[in-house]
Symmetry: C2
Subunit: 546 residues, 2 copies
Amino acid sequence: MKIALAQLNYHIGNFEANTNKIIDHIKLAKNRGADLVVFAELAVCGYPARDFLEFDEFIELCQSSALEIAEHCIDIACIMGLPIKNAKVAGKDLYNAAYFIEDGEIKATVKKALLPTYDVFDEYRYFEPGIQFDCIDFKGKKIALTICEDLWNINDNPLYVSNPMDQLTLQQPDLMINIAASPFSYSHDDERMVVLSDNAKKYNLPLLYVNQVGAQTEIVFDGGSLTFDRAGNLLNEMKYFEEDMRIYEVMDGDILGHTPIDHKPLSDIEQIYGALILGIKDYFEKSGFTKAVLGLSGGIDSAIVCALACRALGAENVMAVLMPSKYSSDHSIQDALDLVKNFGCMHEIIPIKEAADTFDRVLEQAFKDLPPNLAEENIQARCRGLILMAMSNKFGYILLNTSNKSECAVGYGTLYGDMCGAIGVIGDVYKTQVFELARFINKDGVMIPENSIIKPPSAELRPDQKDSDSLPEYDVLDKILFQYIELKQSSKAIIAQGFDEALIKRVVKMVNNAEFKRYQTPPILRVSSKAFGMGRRMPIVGKYLS
Amino acid sequence: MKIALAQLNYHIGNFEANTNKIIDHIKLAKNRGADLVVFAELAVCGYPARDFLEFDEFIELCQSSALEIAEHCIDIACIMGLPIKNAKVAGKDLYNAAYFIEDGEIKATVKKALLPTYDVFDEYRYFEPGIQFDCIDFKGKKIALTICEDLWNINDNPLYVSNPMDQLTLQQPDLMINIAASPFSYSHDDERMVVLSDNAKKYNLPLLYVNQVGAQTEIVFDGGSLTFDRAGNLLNEMKYFEEDMRIYEVMDGDILGHTPIDHKPLSDIEQIYGALILGIKDYFEKSGFTKAVLGLSGGIDSAIVCALACRALGAENVMAVLMPSKYSSDHSIQDALDLVKNFGCMHEIIPIKEAADTFDRVLEQAFKDLPPNLAEENIQARCRGLILMAMSNKFGYILLNTSNKSECAVGYGTLYGDMCGAIGVIGDVYKTQVFELARFINKDGVMIPENSIIKPPSAELRPDQKDSDSLPEYDVLDKILFQYIELKQSSKAIIAQGFDEALIKRVVKMVNNAEFKRYQTPPILRVSSKAFGMGRRMPIVGKYLS
């Protein structure tokens, strides 16, 4: 039996595009001799469709798309994911399901049993868990088809009280297929490899796994679909961050023509780079935009975002706006211009001194004789935000936000100022990782000016300001943040690791006090296991532990 | 048996305050002769604690608070809600539970079975459903204790496949107690009355229901705890939008000293008014702030927000900033000043012409010779946002957002301009309801200037601009929005109701296109069954139906 795995980039709610893409790959797989072609979880509508799923019309379009696709399943069978209605009176209205289509007809329906509802996942918000488990009969073989999370309950601390494969295995299947929409993080690939291999081994079955690829706003799918033999050995991995289709021949419990290979993982930074490029690209393509604007300060963060945008969209589509203040150093402008030259993007220089001075004057009376403070610093940052949004409004450029995860975490940024933007490009990348990204981008020659990398980070909002005036050094800060954000450790537990108590309390307090700011930040491309945004839902008005 | 229902205002994560408040009410109930005092769902930690629940330290503090409270349960028993650890290996790590405490000891634990995971609710994100149902034995009686949603599965289209009371009733309980944290909406009270009455009737038992009161960021709890006789008749309702404690004597299946009463519902507008006042008050009190700032345009929206803020915080704590532009009419300033005079709040007048002109000049070169468009209008709105944030930063005022639900819906507002703020006061109140609120506030005398109510709404960002240039009349618009947002009707279905096709398509498209703006708006006080924010999660990059 020849099985094609189609690893495709879907667009949420774009039924026409998704349906056409699926039909094209059914034809392609048929031409290449496949008996069965497998598409990902919720391929028909894209993932995560969120509250679109609550609109009846949306579900009806899923169904009519499936019927249109079914017409093309002649001389080839197909498996694909879609939401379907729950025909029973009790329970949620929908299932996260998969159709098995043969001879133009829906021959079997599989319903996802384990519904991830944590981090960025909200599946139990929409779906009733499946409780009936049957293998699919195809060409005299039994296929144990599961949907994503259904294979993920085999670790030592299972999140669910049941395990679908334990049921399916009773029917003595010949192979396992898992269709997924498994969001990327730079630590996810290793975990996935282990979980899938453990499943193949435990059930003593070959396993074919097909994932989505592409970005949907902040969520990136990395592809990397996998095949394992019944001993849990990896046989093949498909492309990362790209569409791909491959055909595997399964016979008598073996996947022919493949011998075990070693997983050669991309480095974390290489993965992050790939995810961010794809994230930017898909944000623009799927929104129907082509041109980006960003503020280029001469510092490392905006340099990286500019570099990524040029690579993702083409330099000719990127407008870098330099907005020096009276506190900007000469080298800042030069560093920014060097970057513009290296990448060849558009640029404008629009100083903010005049605008900031105007506000200082206009506010003089209301401010009485109070000494300058954060208010005056924020005015400058907000003048920049205003100028960038004006450029966006005038020319239809989409504003890229350039805040990194470290500063998002501690609130070292100005709401409605440098926190503006349609999409946060590096908001899930710690400052120390930003430096690594710069080195990665420069690996074949200097593109990011060396000076942007080596100079001490500064917001340049008052004379001789440096980040280190307000924050611990980033290598220390990022370690603390990782413990608190990714690992959810208490202050006490972090202090017990040997960090300074006063420092930890200060950092944790800064993170907590910035919740109200983060609530209003743009969606942030997710590359870690715990990004700010939908995956981290903290109260704003609450008394925080410290 | 005398049972006290304690309807209290908790503060998420403020264990000291919550514990002290609970202990105080245990003492008070004991002094008043109660045998049992009942506190709400998750009273110990506040609701919704969101991802605080994922921190071990948070759960440990819940437990230690409960043990401290237990010490005070001598000669009085107590029921209270809190999250507890799941001791089993499989399943989520927590239960949404209630302790029954007697003689200083935890005698019984009840676990919530039905976990609301829709709209603003995320309970399955954190909790494993309870599957074991036992009545509580107290003074020779059996109490069927359930937690909030556990009683809500008795309508025609049940959301869950099981029903806890169907299990508990097998043990022949003597009465039902339900502890809740049931978020307010202006349509929720009627529904609640029916559901609870239906339960009392169905199980032929008296029912005591205790709810939380108070606001937690955007979520408001209205209190209104209820008692029903075994025939489902309402016997008593506790205060709305205020703390309250009452004692009921239950004997032989009757609640003594009460006869059936009619529910006298507050009008929708009265409820909305109460919820918004409480919402503002608690946002400030629980955040530790006292003073608010807002932009006062002379229009109806900011007038209402100013009025509500003065009532909630005291006029002496409210700073209204008038920021006329060159397009502001004279009457706008006068209307705003009239309001300031009526309420007695602070004010400043800070014209924006100079700042806006500066930006026009600074951007002239970059804008080339392109004609004025939305960019120039937004510059004005953003100058206002900048000034308000400067006042906020300089004086520690918290900025109140003044956008109404109609304009949030269609995106008729400027991101980082009039969409700034820490909390959206009327972002869940349609424009037509804003007018009703004005009439309600003026019912005992003109406080909101009549002119602010009767003049045609305008953003005043270009000469003679009116909202009706860009939008349908609000009475039509709001009807369409209600169908699309609250009722999730498709364009097709709305058109079938007799609305103009082109109009519906335009409105729905405006709503969809504004998702990226709404993603970055402040939290909005929720008063309807479908507010923007956590309860409505739409994809940003997605192809919308129309």
